[in-house]
């Protein structure tokens, strides 16, 4: 009887074992991470080791990394499942998500973090901009510095960076801390113009200098003056305008090439313009003398920014009167010789204007330039067919009227 019970018991145990194993194999296999290390340093090899009750599985590990995704095959060591993270993934920092996949199903998942490797040589990337700013402390250039480890991974938050900037005698050192990959600083412009040099240092690795040009600020009001050979309105000489040395509000001479416009107002309220660009703060411009008595009022402008005082320039007439004569049966009108202020002949090219009237109607306006003080007008029979004409002659601001002249006509 006892034997029978024993046999029955053994049989039961055997059955239990048989069905028990089938139960286990039907159940989904679970995998547990062996080591609990959650952070690694970039450049070191990384392995994830899993333990499972079942030793006949062929799991795979899917990883998502900052710079890619891949699927890893397993190696089995001492009954544990080991996944070796590829070298290129070990070098770059960030969170890595892993998913352990067995028989097309995710059986376990988690993350680990790779941290920058401070033992490698630090590399610092600097970005400075804008590279040109105006003096005066309102504008600034921004230094952005990105310190990385030897694998080009941004350093961890709160890494110390020393920022140095030099301007003239001043050298400034600043301690900054990184946040969101970068450390940055706004360097405001000094009141003097010149070059500013900036560099940074992180982990005793210093960068090259980068420069920002500090340009003078905008021009302030200035004065103008003029120079001329003589005061006569001979239509030939040139009047030179010059500005004082134009400076910004901090006393910096404005940048070369600052354009100054000289606006000239005549006594008839006509506007003339001449221009000059500054060199060493001084702009100069030129203007031809008028050919008649004139009073100019002149003012300089840096458009929209600064202006000068207004100056008045008088030009005296070079003649008070002139001669003219008709010849060739009144068909030739000779004006001149016109004499200038020293009784010399006027320069060539003085404009002489003749208006031709017939019975008070303007027929035409003729213009000639003087040569050796004389201008000659031919009044051809073919064009001037009327019996009589009257003339109005103007030169160098003087106007003379002739009598009405009679003309013979060919029949």
């Amino acid at each position: 009887m006892k034997k029978a019970i024993n046999i029955l018991f053994l049989l039961c145990a055997l059955l239990l074992l048989a069905f028990g194993t089938t139960l286990v194999s039907n159940k989904k296999v679970s995998f547990e991470l062996v080591s609990n290390i959650k952070t690694f340093t970039a450049g070191n090899s990384i392995e994830l080791e899993f333990h499972s009750k079942s030793e006949k599985e062929k799991p795979q590990l899917f990883i998502i990394h900052s710079y890619g995704k891949t699927l890893l095959d397993v190696t089995i060591e001492k009954g544990n499942y080991i996944f070796k993270i590829p070298e290129n993934y070990c070098k770059k920092t960030g969170d890595v998500s892993w998913f352990l996949i067995n028989k097309n199903e995710t059986r376990n998942s988690g993350t680990f973090e790779i941290l920058p490797n401070d033992a490698t040589k630090t590399v610092v990337e600097n970005y400075l901009g804008p590279r040109t700013i105006l003096a005066g402390g309102k504008e600034f250039t921004m230094m952005v510095t990105v310190p990385t480890d030897g694998f080009d991974n941004p350093k961890q938050e709160n890494t110390n960076v020393i920022l140095k900037h030099q301007f003239l005698q001043n050298v400034t050192n600043l301690n900054l801390k990184t946040k969101d990959f970068i450390a940055w600083y706004d360097i405001y412009s000094p009141t003097k113009s010149g070059k500013m040099l900036v560099s940074t240092e992180c982990d005793k690795i210093a960068t090259k200098e980068i420069e920002t040009e500090i340009y003078p600020n905008i021009a302030t009001n200035f004065t103008i003056d003029y120079k001329r050979n003589h005061e006569f309105a001979d239509g030939n000489q040139i009047t030179h305008f010059t500005t004082s040395s134009i400076k910004d509000q901090y006393g910096n001479v404005v940048s070369d090439g600052t354009l100054v416009s000289f606006l000239i107002k005549t006594k008839n309220n006509l506007i003339l313009k001449t221009f000059g660009a500054t060199i060493n703060g001084i702009a100069s411009a030129q203007l031809l003398h008028p050919d008649h008595q004139e009073t100019y009022s002149v003012k300089g402008f840096v458009t929209g920014i600064a202006e000068s005082n207004s100056i008045t320039i008088n030009y005296k007439p070079i003649i008070s009167t002139f001669n003219y004569s008709f010849s060739n049966k009144n068909r030739t009108l000779t004006v001149g010789p016109i004499k200038s202020f020293m009784n010399q002949l006027v320069p060539d090219g003085i404009k002489v204007i003749v208006k031709v009237f017939h019975k008070d109607n303007l027929v035409t306006t003729l213009q000639e330039d003087t040569s050796k003080g004389i201008a000659t007008f031919e009044l051809s029979e073919d064009f001037y067919k009327e019996k009589n004409y009257r003339f109005e002659i103007t030169t160098l601001g003087i106007t003379k009227q002739t009598e009405t002249l009679n003309y013979e006509l060919h029949k």
């Binding site: 890619g68 995704k69 940055w184």
Partner: protein, 506 residues
């Protein structure tokens, strides 16, 4: 004569050949290819992007620059996804700086060597601007809780599908007109904030019941197309008066709801056409005025479930449901009509993943209305049962099987059930000698209505009208397929009520 003409022909051909060779040699690269012209993301990759905050410690962000940054950033994802899918390096240099692209190349080389390909897409980006430099050349932002979905293949065999959420910190540089990624670092996701969208439902599901303002709502409905625009409700023939008249007929027949269909392409794919929304609004407003509730079936005639198109379909659904999230006439969004028919050709897992993801998108944008899926039979209706608000299926089997089928499904789900389509065509003709007569159709509906009444079931019959024409996409191009499909109506082509009309409701 023959000799001369063949000589001429030969010469003509020779000249033609020479000229085309010369032409080929003269044609160089297109001049525009020398320039980095704007590239468009439209209709390739449109994940949802919401910038959290633009205040930053640096320069004030200009809206135009932000758009360019967003575009180039999305391209960087698109290019990365594409290159992991094909293991090709094309385009990476346009969106990653010299130092950054090396890392991607390494990943691609590794995958290529190990025959791994990964299809992936991102669905949502929530970037927060951290820093924009004074000279406008560098930007740092944190893209919070990017949802990534990927399918992993080895030796072209699908290994698994994985969804992951992570935050990325990104530094981009402006280089020759492109914003390129200089550093990107994956980080732990942030705790997700509760959705601020306040829901305001009139329809609710309590246990096995759909409640309308806390009263039981049992759908007595009908599938609706206007008579002359079968499968084209919002087409050129759209007419307010026609629909108003039809709604009167439906209302008078003691029905309380209708089901309508929106075609993906017809509505403009990812860029919804405003005139289509206008038409839909007209229809919904009419339904509201007649007190009819509407189930709107989305994505009709659409069957691309690949990851590549997920962002596009999401934008499509999002734009439609957002526009009508407060509309009183809507009972539910039906994600897709009979998606199980695509199980075989488009991979069941793919289809289910897409549907599930689409439910999330719709719920996020319209928390007010219910969501269902119109399965073609009761057996498949159990799919995603836990994700929908109520279960819908279509019944075209023998009446005798109805009660058993219903009971089986009812047991398997905790959700309310709507028989979303059923019916029989009154079609007997040269193509079908044994078809049902008009009286037979009436008899069928009479029996069905008795069953619905007895068990208090929600139903939507197929369909109001016999249609003069049916598009090929619906049932097939052969007359015996098409003609049958034309005759499911309660009202014939001439507008006369068929005998079955008596049994349109209970």
């Amino acid at each position: 004569m023959v000799l001369i003409s063949s000589f001429i022909l030969l010469n003509v051909l020779l000249l033609f050949g020479l000229s085309s060779i010369l032409e080929y040699l003269n044609s160089g690269a297109d001049r525009t290819s020398m320039l980095h012209l704007e590239k468009e993301t439209v209709n390739t990759y449109l994940p949802k992007v919401i910038w959290e905050e633009l205040n930053n410690v640096g320069r004030v962000m200009e809206p135009n620059t932000l758009k360019t940054i967003e575009k180039d950033y999305l391209f960087s994802w698109y290019i990365k996804n594409k290159s992991l899918e094909n293991n090709k390096k094309q385009g990476i240099e346009d969106y990653y700086t010299q130092n950054a692209r090396v890392n991607l190349y390494n990943s691609i080389d590794y995958n290529l060597k190990n025959k791994i390909t990964i299809e992936s897409t991102t669905l949502k980006h929530n970037p927060k601007l951290e820093f924009y430099s004074e000279d406008g050349q560098q930007v740092v932002f944190t893209d919070k809780n990017v949802i990534e979905f990927q399918k992993v293949f080895k030796d072209k065999k699908l290994i698994s599908e994985v969804q992951d959420t992570a935050t990325y910190k990104v530094m981009m540089l402006l280089e020759d007109g492109f914003w390129r990624i200089r550093h990107i670092q994956k980080m732990k996701p942030e705790p997700i904030e509760k959705d601020t969208l306040k829901s305001n439902h009139e329809f609710k599901v309590v246990g096995k019941k759909i409640k309308y303002n806390n009263v039981d709502f049992i759908s007595k409905g009908i599938n609706y197309y206007p008579k002359n625009s079968a499968w084209d409700t919002f087409g050129d023939l759209f007419n307010k008066d026609t629909i108003a008249k039809d709604f009167d007929i439906i209302k008078k027949a003691k029905l309380n709801s209708i089901r309508i269909f929106i075609q993906y392409e017809d509505f403009g794919k990812a860029d919804i056409k405003p005139e289509k929304l206008e038409k839909l609004k007209t229809l919904l407003d009419l339904a509201e005025s007649k007190n009819l509730k509407v189930i709107i079936t989305l994505f009709d005639f659409y069957s691309d479930y690949t990851l590549e198109s997920w962002t596009l379909t999401s934008r499509h659904a999002e734009k439609i449901v957002t526009a009508f999230k407060n509309h009183k006439a809507i009972l539910a969004w039906d994600i897709k009509n009979e998606p199980n028919l695509d199980f075989e050709n488009r991979d069941k897992k793919n289809v289910l993943n897409w549907l599930q993801q689409m439910i999330t998108v719709i719920k996020e944008n319209d928390p007010n209305h219910l969501v269902t899926i119109g399965w073609s039979n009761s057996y498949e209706a159990i799919n995603l049962e836990d994700k929908v608000d109520f279960v819908s299926y279509h019944f075209y089997n023998a009446i005798d099987d109805f009660e058993t089928e219903y009971a089986t499904l009812d047991k398997a789900t905790k959700k309310p059930i709507v028989i979303q389509e059923f019916g029989v065509p009154s079609y007997r003709g040269i193509w079908n000698w044994t078809g049902t007569t008009k009286d037979g159709q009436a008899e069928y509906h009479k029996k069905m209505q008795e069953l619905f009444k007895k068990n208090n079931l929600a139903f939507m019959s197929w369909t109001l009208y016999d249609f003069p024409s049916v598009p090929n996409q619906v049932a097939g191009k052969w007359p015996w397929q098409k003609n049958r499909q034309k005759k499911f109506g309660f009202i014939d082509e001439k507008g006369k009520e068929k005998p079955a009309f008596l049994y349109i409701s209970n």
